[in-house]
Symmetry: none
Subunit: 217 residues, 4 copies
Amino acid sequence: MICVTETPAVPAKSTASRRGRPRSEASHQAVMEATARLLDVEELPYEELTVERIAAEAGVGKQTIYRWWENKAAVVLEALVTGYVKLDFHQVPDTGDLRADLDSWVEQSVKGLCKQDEDEGTVILRSLMAAIVSGGEAIQELLQNTDVWSGMHLAERLRSAHTAGELRDDVDPGMVASAVMGAVVMQMLTVGKPDGESLKRLLHVMLDGALEPRRPA
Amino acid sequence: MICVTETPAVPAKSTASRRGRPRSEASHQAVMEATARLLDVEELPYEELTVERIAAEAGVGKQTIYRWWENKAAVVLEALVTGYVKLDFHQVPDTGDLRADLDSWVEQSVKGLCKQDEDEGTVILRSLMAAIVSGGEAIQELLQNTDVWSGMHLAERLRSAHTAGELRDDVDPGMVASAVMGAVVMQMLTVGKPDGESLKRLLHVMLDGALEPRRPA
Amino acid sequence: MICVTETPAVPAKSTASRRGRPRSEASHQAVMEATARLLDVEELPYEELTVERIAAEAGVGKQTIYRWWENKAAVVLEALVTGYVKLDFHQVPDTGDLRADLDSWVEQSVKGLCKQDEDEGTVILRSLMAAIVSGGEAIQELLQNTDVWSGMHLAERLRSAHTAGELRDDVDPGMVASAVMGAVVMQMLTVGKPDGESLKRLLHVMLDGALEPRRPA
Amino acid sequence: MICVTETPAVPAKSTASRRGRPRSEASHQAVMEATARLLDVEELPYEELTVERIAAEAGVGKQTIYRWWENKAAVVLEALVTGYVKLDFHQVPDTGDLRADLDSWVEQSVKGLCKQDEDEGTVILRSLMAAIVSGGEAIQELLQNTDVWSGMHLAERLRSAHTAGELRDDVDPGMVASAVMGAVVMQMLTVGKPDGESLKRLLHVMLDGALEPRRPA
DNA sequence: TCGTAAGCGAGACGGTACGTCCTGTCTTCGC
DNA sequence: GCGAAGACAGGACGTACCGTCTCGCTTACGA
């Protein structure tokens, strides 16, 4: 759900073959998978997800993590960016009726997020935000080249809606995806428990517009 | 910018007078002011803002903080809730033209947020999100009775727009405020630097609606 | 076996009662006992004796150790200084014949030190030297006010020998103890395995003198 | 100052020529010289002298060190053994009067060791002891075939004193050297700062004997 | 002359300890 | 009994080394 144009992260080191032992791709993967496992399976919230735990889970030295990632936030973001961890949103159905499709998408997603006790459903979402919010300059730079939401299925559905003429010609479907996800996610985080009805109303505002239609014509 | 219906925070201890020395209102204020000073003036990011630092800055014992607040998130949230710290958003002008007003609001706000180097402008915003995202159950409960954005001037402007007939009758202005703030804030956090133009386009989607108006009828 | 005139270690903090929670004597003792247990019972060599292990063994936070001791060397030295750990030297018998007494002392001590496999017998001795040699300025200062060997029974025996007229009037029994212990310990460390016979010859040199007796007469 | 009968260190690999690239003598020397430079010139204490630092200083791969030496202690000991690093003891003069010669030797040596601030003078001595005390079995075995002190000029002077009849016939001059160096070195390490006067008195005990000469007959 | 086995510099690897920092609790005092 | 001070147990941090490993390259023997 996060799109990165390219991921240098490390200064690229110029030419092809460098001296010394090359980076272990196995370790790289192990770290990503360990992070995913801890977030997804063990549902550790971001603050309880420690670099030491990731290293142990991955069977990797702590230094190997710090050698390639700036901090915990960078690890978690990469795991989300590259799809090792997936946010718990459902696919958006495509019946041709965008409004109805989004309504059922919201309903399904909320149902999925709330079936667990307490707020476990939003653990990954919270971790994503925590990583974005806490990561230093490195994360900010990464986000420059990244559209956090455009990898989600919602964005795809909106693009197809755009070509199908369901959306106004003059709106960017990516922009709509950002607006929808931003509003929806923020609502989920700033309200105790996600609530399908209010989310749908929120959605409708964005679909139909808030302004009295006479004016913009 | 955060609205709380009531602020018990601590179980209220039933009746009026308890035994022993009553809570020192001076200490309470000192903590709030210290938090505000550290966030606003020193621009410490949330992770560098420690309880010990707040206590020291406030000239208060650490226990005094833990006696009245659950954790750091609760302190920060209360400081934001009760207005000791203010988010760096401008007031929304009221010329009668909501779209133009919001455009200039966005422009002014972005200008304010970006005048500092790097991402210092969003420090408080990030702290708010960090507190929301990291806080435990107590913060979740607090948020149940709270509308994070309805205290902002934007919400007021939208309410007046609603009564003035600028908004559609069937939309809740509070809902619109949530949608707008959610989308705007999320956009600010998930792209490296806030960018006035894209924020305005985002805003217009929400004002005019994303759907092709004729088609769904 | 190490004598300290006084052990301020920490700047004394002036007057009697200070504010805040006072140092926990229980923790202090726990650290000393844990150190003794690890050195004496588990026979960990100095390099494998970590601060973290001591803290864990003592049921104490690591910071509590670093609050009161400069480093590992200081902890180990205090444990030796204050008698929580004892070097594996036997008592010196007192038959009135100093030479014979020292011979049997050496024999007994070497037997004790060598009964274990490998070099476990000298673990504590090695730890003592490691602490002395590795400790920084703080340890050097501590040693200024300390006579490492004068607490051993050997020193006492030599003092009684001095008053009994067994030693020359003009020699300081403490000095003799230092010389004997220095030579013996160094021999033990710089030779693979302590060897009773060569130690005894070493001892006799010091008792009888190395010079051809005519000369100094 | 350390004498080794032979220095196989590595199992000798039987016959003369092995296949493959032979050991680079240049690297060997570079390591020894780097070690000497770091100990002698930069006066790094043993704990701050790391294998990585030595390798870097020598322009050598770390593995090249571990291929030929067991550990840091072995490297340092070989550097001391083979004279790349020298202990800061002066030569013993030979005026025919051993006692006076040793007195002036002590005085000169202490002067040399104390001219630097703090305890820098004994850095190499401390490193020697640290290596001996910390080194594992390999170092113990090495020490079996080695007399740490017999390479020093003191040993030579004592041997000549022995043939000149200055020493008692029945004492082994090597033994005396061990006793003297052991006592002197230990004194230097266990008191804060070496002190010429007490060292001389220590020395005199060993020259003249501690026992009352008439009594034991 | 060439293959190949070993050594080489470089540097990443799994591990582990370090010393610092912070959390949330506790234990003293003085008010 | 609150509040400031500050020590406590616990535990994560990010750094530094250790000793091993894996690269591509070099060296020099033996076929």
